[in-house]
């Protein structure tokens, strides 16, 4: 083994950058691959904060309570040991970020300020204004830039991961990647690789995720033999602003301050909202849940809106949207309490929410599932590690607010040193370790794609995929619908073979790069719908009206999706969940339902 291990990190969000920092600090050589300049990674979008039981508010908070809240919030599906480790490291991670210069909000005494977040009773969330994710990402980006200027890190920004290079024994020996400018395909040697490529919101068409969050890298590895676990667990945020290009979060504080959710009683009522009389408005949350009204818990609100749109067909203008109305609240109250979020709405929608009701809809927000990893963040492919949203650990069936940033950094901090350890003990590769073969495989795929003379536009296929997935595999799931979705995806995969790229050039060809991602999205979508179809229970974000209860006996298990290359289909199996620290108990936050 070479004296200096060479590690490749794919993805430059919080998880990727934190693993890079650990490796560079330990004297390893790191190549960092990212589609976008790492400072533009999706981690910037996180707003709320980062959890750690620092107990600076005299509430008696401790890391075990944080551990318990996380496991409970995740409906006991997460393996408990890594969650326990993560929550234990939380305070130290916050301290480190603080030392890196993150402009966390402060108390008058100059200490870190903490706020309360969903799913806990404690002030446990450190925050930097309303842009915590951005601030944390920048802090890590700056550290990595420092290592880069010292020659310890080599960045490959504008490169896309295509696949792992696996030797004859199935051990990872590097990656195959594509330069998104020259469209050149190349292999890069590494003793270990760490996949930190985030979630897969793009599979659902529009989501709150960024453009690069396609799940393509995770899917490629799944197709190379990695397990993809708990794919069916997708967090949907109840109030997002539907946009033509994406969904943007609308904070729940709008409802907290008296916002009312409604739709016109008449299907497809063409009148402007303000002219619809009270009698013609259907305040469905208030009618269905008189006790809690608009402040029903998240999942209930999400499901109610879904039902209004897809079962009752009462969406505004026939579109999947309902009104969130704060226009009846006086301007002064709005300006004092929720001006910031109303400004976001006005900026992106162009309507003034003081005057016109906002149009909102639940939006796919977070991928709890991901690449299966052991407690050292290694996948079942030797030498392939994963961290952050792209792995399945930590969040179980549902993620608590402000836990994602912590899980990313924790995952990176484990994966980095573990990859180093692994690499130091790795026997030398034979020959090229399978690099040439992998490069040929990828080039062939590219050639077929570029030369195809079919009729299908990849962006249109993607829209159909998104529509299907959003309809059948998000908030409310029926087995019939999930089966229909799977058939639709199989059909889309068949149509994919009839693709025709409008752009066949070999320079900065975004349609081409997207078409490659689309194939991987289609493959991964099947893991999601099949996992959901087979899980006949309701747990966390996964809800089936036909199976409304959690079924620990049958389904307190990790879903293991593996790819069968012969059948070109996923195989779903199950693995026991580590519950050695906290005995599963029913998860109930309220008595309303």
């Amino acid at each position: 083994m070479a004296a200096v291990p060479k590690i490749i990190v794919v993805g430059g969000g919080l998880a990727g950058l934190s693993s890079v920092i650990k490796i560079a600090e330990a004297g390893g050589k790191v190549d960092l691959f990212s589609i976008v300049p790492v400072k533009r990674s999706h981690s910037v979008c996180a707003q709320g904060g980062i959890n750690a039981a620092k107990n600076l508010k005299g509430e008696g908070d401790d890391v075990f309570k944080h551990f318990d809240d996380t496991i409970y919030g995740g409906d006991f599906l997460a393996n408990q040991t890594p969650v326990k480790n993560m929550t234990a490291q939380g305070p130290a991670i916050i301290d480190l970020l603080d030392r890196m210069g993150v402009p966390f909000n402060r108390t008058p005494e100059g200490l870190l300020d903490f706020r309360r977040f969903g799913g806990t009773l404690y002030h446990r969330t450190a925050f930097a204004g309303a842009t915590t994710g951005q601030q944390l990402l920048y802090a890590l980006d700056e550290q990595v830039r420092r290592f880069e200027s010292e020659g310890k890190v080599q960045k490959y920004e504008g490169w896309e991961f295509l696949s792992a290079v696996l030797d004859e024994a199935g051990v990872c020996r590097g990656i195959c990647a594509m330069d998104l400018r020259t469209m050149e395909v190349k292999t890069f040697h590494a003793d270990a690789i760490i996949i930190c490529t985030g979630g897969n919101g793009a599979i659902f068409g529009k989501s709150t995720n960024s453009v690069v969050c396609t799940g393509s890298a995770a899917s490629a590895l799944y197709q190379q033999g990695a397990y993809y676990s708990n794919g069916e667990f997708i967090q949907v945020h109840p109030t997002a602003i539907p946009g033509e290009d994406k969904l943007r979060l609308m904070s729940e504080s709008a409802r907290g301050e008296g916002g009312r959710v409604w739709v016109p009683r008449k299907k497809g009522d063409p009148r402007p909202a303000k002219t619809i009389s009270e009698a013609d408005r259907f305040y469905f949350l208030e009618e269905w849940y008189p006790k809690y009204g608009n402040l029903v818990p998240r999942d209930i609100a999400t499901r109610a809106i879904h039902r209004i749109v897809y079962q009752e067909d009462l969406g505004i203008d026939g579109q999947p949207m309902v009104y969130l109305d704060v226009s009846h609240i006086d301007r002064e109250t709005l300006e004092k309490k929720i001006e910031g979020i109303l400004e976001i709405y006005e900026k992106f929608v162009g309507d003034d929410p003081h005057e016109v009701p906002m149009k909102i809809f639940p939006g796919v927000h977070y991928t709890m599932g991901g690449l299966w990893v052991d407690f050292n963040q290694m996948t079942n492919i030797p030498g392939v590690f994963a961290a952050g949203e792209s792995d399945y650990s930590i969040h179980g069936a549902n993620r608590l607010g402000a836990n994602s940033l912590l899980s990313c950094i924790y995952g990176g901090f484990v994966a980095g040193p573990q990859a180093m350890l692994y690499a130091k003990n790795l026997p030398a590769q034979k020959g090229d370790g399978g690099a040439a073969k992998e490069e040929v495989r990828q080039r062939e795929f590219n050639n077929i794609l570029l030369q195809n003379e079919g009729t299908e536009n990849p962006f249109k296929l993607w829209r159909e995929l998104g529509d299907t997935m959003t309809r059948h595999a998000t908030i409310i799931r029926y087995n019939a619908g999930l089966r229909e979705a799977d058939e639709k995806i199989v059909d889309l995969l068949a149509r994919y073979r009839n693709i025709n790229l409008s752009d066949k050039s070999a320079w900065a060809n975004t349609s081409f790069a997207f078409a490659r991602q689309l194939y991987n999205m289609l493959q991964l979508a099947r893991v999601i719908v099949q996992g959901a179809e087979k899980r006949d229970e309701s747990r966390g974000a996964h809800y089936k009206p036909d199976f409304t209860e959690r079924n620990d006996e049958k389904f307190l298990k990790t879903t293991m999706g593996s790819y069968d290359p012969i059948a070109d289909a996923p195989v779903i199996t199950y693995e026991e969940v580590d519950t050695q620290w906290i005995t599963p108990r029913p998860r109930r936050y309220d008595a309303s339902a």
Binding site: K155, K186, T187, G433, A435, E439
Partner: protein, 267 residues
Amino acid sequence: MASVAAPAPPSNQHPIKGVQPLRAGEGNSFVLRRLHSLTGIVPIGAFLVEHIISNIEIVHGPLAYAQQVKFLNGLPLVRVLEWAFIFIPLAFHALYGVYIAIKGRPNVNVYPWAGNWMYLSQRVTGILALAYIIQHLYFQRFTGVSLPEHPGLAYWKVQYELSNPLMVAVYVIGMVVTCWHFAYGVWLFAAKWGITPGDRARKKFGWVCGVFGTVLCAAGLWSIIAIVNAPAVPFEDVMPAQQPGVMAPTVPVQNESQQQPPLTQQQ
């Protein structure tokens, strides 16, 4: 392929095209730029103020003006002062200023914002002021009657120059652009040297500079108007060089004495 390809240099390692990164700690443009900024205030700006104040003596007639010119030319080491504190700084400020101006890419057509207009105006007024000053120095300082030697002819020389309406226009424009350039230059100086970092401080100081520039310009225009409107004086030295032992008149000559033969005839 026998072995794994050697990693290609990543795309961001290619030499950057377009605008180059900061040459951290290299070169001396900082000193030159700051010197440029400073020379605009001291000594050039200070001289401009002095010059405009001196010109107000025009209002008091040829002799008063002549005395002012004589006083200035009587300062010790005046030629050294003139070169060290006026001509050389002015030449540096002007040449480096033109160099700065030609490197800028004004874009008020796209971004018609107040500060952007002022940016452009500072470059335009600078170049106009330079053109004005060159002709002013050429005609008033280095050609024609030498005023350091004959301060008594100062009034005549200026009035004669301004008997041409075109030159009046040149002087008025010159006065306005120079004062504009100076007043905004003071504002820029304060902003760039960190004297007025806040928005509010800059806004307030903007008023100060505006008023200052307006007053200065008004004073300058006042002397131009005064000399243009005053009755034309003949070409005669109101204050001829003194013979040794001859005292200059200590009180202005009376009205009727103006009709007396000019003193020059005594030479």
